[in-house]
């Protein structure tokens, strides 16, 4: 399954990137293809392109703040969780997808 994700926390210097790394790792274990965009203090990095989003079955928002340019994700199934969820039990997020 192709998945896109966005991570963002208020400070945007550590948890944003840790969560992105966790999601990438766990997604691989589940056999998913994932691309994670970080919206940290540096601004948007590893930005999801239009075709990334169009091809994805799901978008995961692991965020504690508002997602920037959210309108890009119109028409995609979005699952939004607190950022802590992606750090503590990311497996939960992915098992939600399969059901």
């Amino acid at each position: 399954m192709k998945i896109v994700a966005v991570t963002a926390c208020p400070t945007g210097i550590a948890h944003t990137y840790m969560a992105a790394a966790r999601l990438e790792k766990v997604a691989k274990n589940f056999g998913h293809e994932i691309k994670v965009e970080t919206q940290g203090a540096m601004g948007i990095e590893n930005k999801l392109s239009e075709s990334d989003i169009r091809q994805a079955q799901y978008a995961i928002f692991a965020v504690d703040i508002e997602v920037e340019e959210r309108e890009r994700f119109n028409g995609v199934k979005v699952i939004q969780v607190p950022l802590q969820e992606a750090l503590k039990n990311p497996e939960n997020i992915f098992s939600k997808l399969q059901r």
Binding site: T11, G12, I13, G40, A41, M42, I44
Partner: protein, 348 residues
Amino acid sequence: MLESLQKLRQHLLTGVSHAIPFIACGGILIAAAIAFAPMTASGPDFSNAPRLKLILDIGTAALTLMLPVLAGYISYSIAGKPGLLPGFLGGFLSGEVRAGFLGAILAGLVAGCVVEALKKVPVSKYLRPIMPILVIPILAGSLVGVLMIKVIGAPIALFMDHANRALMSMSTGNGIALALLLGAMIAFDMGGPVNKAAFFFGSAMISQGNYQIMGACAAAICTPPLGMGLATLVRKKLWTLEEREAGLAAIAMGMIGITEGAIPFAAADPIRVIPSIMAGSAVAAMIAMVGGVGDHAPHGGPIVLPVVDHRAAYVLAIVAGTLVTAILIVSLKLRSNGIAAEKQKEHA
């Protein structure tokens, strides 16, 4: 080349779209306060109207925030979150050194490019977390700060000084040439150093008993927002919804003599808008000068009509200047739209 120009325009528009509410809110509040205060020979009088003064102060605060917001979001559009601090800082300083909205645009562009370059500097992963919240803001902020205060600010002060002397020496010569120059100066940067140089000269001449210079300035002050507002009304299709709303606010501000109402248009499309409003204001100033209009208050626009000599000529000057600006900007926009459509045809 074309692509980078479009990118540039996109960054400017991001800044403008965030700045419009500040201009509209600040401008309208100031306009309302001035409209209800008695107009005297020393300008609107707030000494007996504490409530109007309060409204004026709030409006002034909103309008003061416009420059930081404009520069901040231009920079944000280029460089994302780390661009905000140097952009806001540069925009604020642009107000402090009286560099106006052109200074703010420059500050925003420079801030954004500097931050974007700093983001690409390779650093060890232990330093990486402090880059966006410490290193980049301090470096880029200091750089933009030095640029605004030392490189931009000092020459502006010098320019104001020289401009005043040059205008003074012209005041005994050809009145029409002086009026054309003053009108163009008023419109050029709408509240920036060139505008202020002309305005201060006009108000300084009032105290010397020469009311005609300020009369020419007063007519020129209101035609940029009035002309742009009129243009959005007569050719609705040329403008976005946001611009049409800014157009209505601009008309209200124009009536009260607040040139800043045209800034949203000029910042979004300087190449076409600034010449159009300069021509309109120059025509208005010239007609006012020829018609012998004198203005006893250091303020402009239709609102000062009670303290103006030769009122019919004053109204004529404003109407003519407004029409010139509106006709010029509409035809320039139509022409460039036509060229764009042709290019598209070629591509297809």
